[in-house]
């Protein structure tokens, strides 16, 4: 992670309280940086022991108002 200072990692653990072993949450300003990080992590030793790394949710940090506006389409009018 030191090679990717633009990415902040939050690793938390779920054994015993959820279906997965652990969860990773990343914050970054540029999704391309995160892609490069994932590419590097594919070669790590721990990656070989990862059975499933899905689902992956990529979301844009917004206010709840913006999220609701996007949900009901109020923020945009669809143009054909």
């Amino acid at each position: 992670m030191k090679k990717f200072p633009g990415i902040k990692n939050h690793t938390t653990y779920s054994f015993g309280i959820d279906d997965q072993e652990f969860m990773t949450a990343f914050e970054c300003a540029e999704p391309a940086d995160f892609m490069h990080l994932m590419l590097r992590l594919r070669d790590s030793e721990a990656s070989a022991y990862t059975e499933r790394d899905t689902p992956i949710f990529v979301g844009q940090h917004v206010t709840i108002r913006e999220a609701l506006a996007a949900l009901d389409g109020a923020s945009a009018r669809v143009e054909l």
Binding site: H10, T12, S14, I17, G59, H61, R65, A67
Partner: protein, 433 residues
């Protein structure tokens, strides 16, 4: 069914669902449908689209040509009969519309009662295809130039800017959702955004969330009269103990008045009110929850919680924080088709997770959500997967996990629904099969 049948060359060679296909007699063709080679399940979204296609009655030539091309290219084309319309005018229209069509239309095996069909004709026009097992799908006609077809529109407005008749219901649903969200989820409340407009001596206060408006006018010593107005949620106003938000007291009157810089009493008052509205203290009454900018750090002392100073994406306006809780909203619209947004709840209280779920269920929005996924996890001092001393020391030694590490984080993932209440607005994006 009686009436004129609308036919084409479609003669299905097989039955649907193992049922024999009988002739579907009668009805009027209003919706342009076709039977694709691969059966497609008709969704309510399609029905929503076809609600708009009501206006295809007056479709211009461009659409007619498109339909002709489509019909020529798809052997299995079938014009859907919109049953139950028996008036003569409709028959004439149907006859005119069916003139380029030939063939016979197979009958249904699931007849619509006349009464239901009649209601369907007026209220839910696209329900009729479900009564026709020989209809496998609806073909929509996306147009590059929507303005060429007046009335065919997606959204709340027609191309000419005129609002659809359903706009009132849509606005009501949205207002209810936002208001309830503002009420129940303390750390995700929507602050009321108010605007003050002045026309002569009249001051008009409007808010984007359904609120109760309170306005006061009083004169400060030696200064111009000052209007005060604030908005708060209706439910708070309906209660017996409606207190003035504490944040209201934080704005000093001289500060407000100095921003006006006007000598005219009325004008200064209006500007003062506007400045008051623009201040951050204009929040719903639910914002009285004690808040703090600091986040209690968890086990990993070197890791700042999301939203803390170390977070790259930290923006105070996007992160709702209290002393023990942080909630963040993320939008996935357009990124993942199965989700629309998710919430990240970070808390020391396990009960807070249930409270968030209850808050979601209490909102009108909950009726439009389905398959809420939750991913719960907690922070540890160090990873047990690491080979470092900290990780090795943190491996289980017999103590209950809850005694070793406090609960730190949990994530709630909410998936927008397919299902739930029927769409009241007929918008296309309400895909509710």
């Amino acid at each position: 069914m009686e009436g004129e049948a609308v036919h084409d060359r479609h003669r299905p060679s097989s039955s649907r669902h193992g049922q024999p296909v009988r002739r579907h007699a009668g009805g009027r063709c209003r919706s342009w449908t076709a039977s694709p080679s691969t059966p497609t399940r008709t969704t309510r979204a399609s029905r929503g689209q076809w609600d708009a296609s009501e206006h295809l009655d007056d479709r211009p030539r461009g659409l007619t040509r498109s339909s002709s091309r489509l019909s020529a290219g798809i052997p299995g084309r079938l014009l859907c009969s919109r049953s139950g319309t028996t008036n003569s005018a409709s028959s004439r229209r149907s006859r005119r519309r069916s003139s380029p069509l030939r063939g016979t239309e197979p009958a249904t095996t699931k007849t619509c009662p006349r009464g239901d069909a009649g209601r369907a004709t007026t209220g839910r026009p696209c329900s009729s295809p479900f009564c026709q097992p020989n209809v496998d799908g609806l073909f929509l006609f996306p147009l590059r130039r929507r303005d060429r077809v007046r009335g065919l529109a997606v959204g709340l407005y027609y191309p000419d800017g005129a609002p659809k008749s359903s706009i009132a219901a849509v606005k009501l649903a949205l207002d209810e959702s936002r208001r309830a969200w503002s009420l129940i989820a303390d750390d995700l409340e929507l602050s009321v955004q108010a605007e003050v407009a002045q026309r002569g001596p009249m001051l008009t206060l409007t808010c984007d969330i359904d609120c109760s408006y309170v306005a006061e006018l009083y004169r400060l010593p030696g200064r111009a009269p000052r209007h005060e107005a604030w908005a708060r949620d209706r439910r708070q106003a309906d209660g017996t103990a409606v207190a003035r938000p504490e944040t209201e007291r934080e704005v000093q009157a001289p500060t407000v008045c100095s921003r006006t810089g006007e000598s005219g009493a009325a004008h200064a008052a209006a500007r003062a009110a506007a400045a008051r509205v623009a201040s951050r203290s204009w929040r719903a009454s639910t914002s009285r929850t004690p808040s703090s900018a600091s986040i209690r750090r968890g086990g990993g002392a070197d890791r700042g919680a999301p939203g803390s100073q170390g977070c790259l994406c930290q923006k105070s306006s996007r992160t709702s924080q209290t002393a023990s809780t942080t909630s963040r909203a993320y939008m996935t619209t357009g990124v993942r088709p199965d989700t629309d947004f998710f919430l990240w709840k970070i808390t020391d209280r396990y009960e807070a997770l249930g409270e968030l779920g209850a808050a979601l269920n209490a909102t009108p929005l909950a009726g439009w959500l389905r398959d809420a996924r939750t991913r719960t996890s907690r922070r540890r001092m160090a990873s047990q997967y690491t080979n470092g001393a900290a990780g090795a020391a943190n491996r289980a030694t017999g103590l209950p996990l809850s005694r070793r590490v406090p609960l730190r984080e949990a994530t709630t993932v909410v998936r927008a629904a397919r299902g739930g209440p029927p769409p009241r607005d007929g918008r296309a994006h309400h895909d509710r099969a």
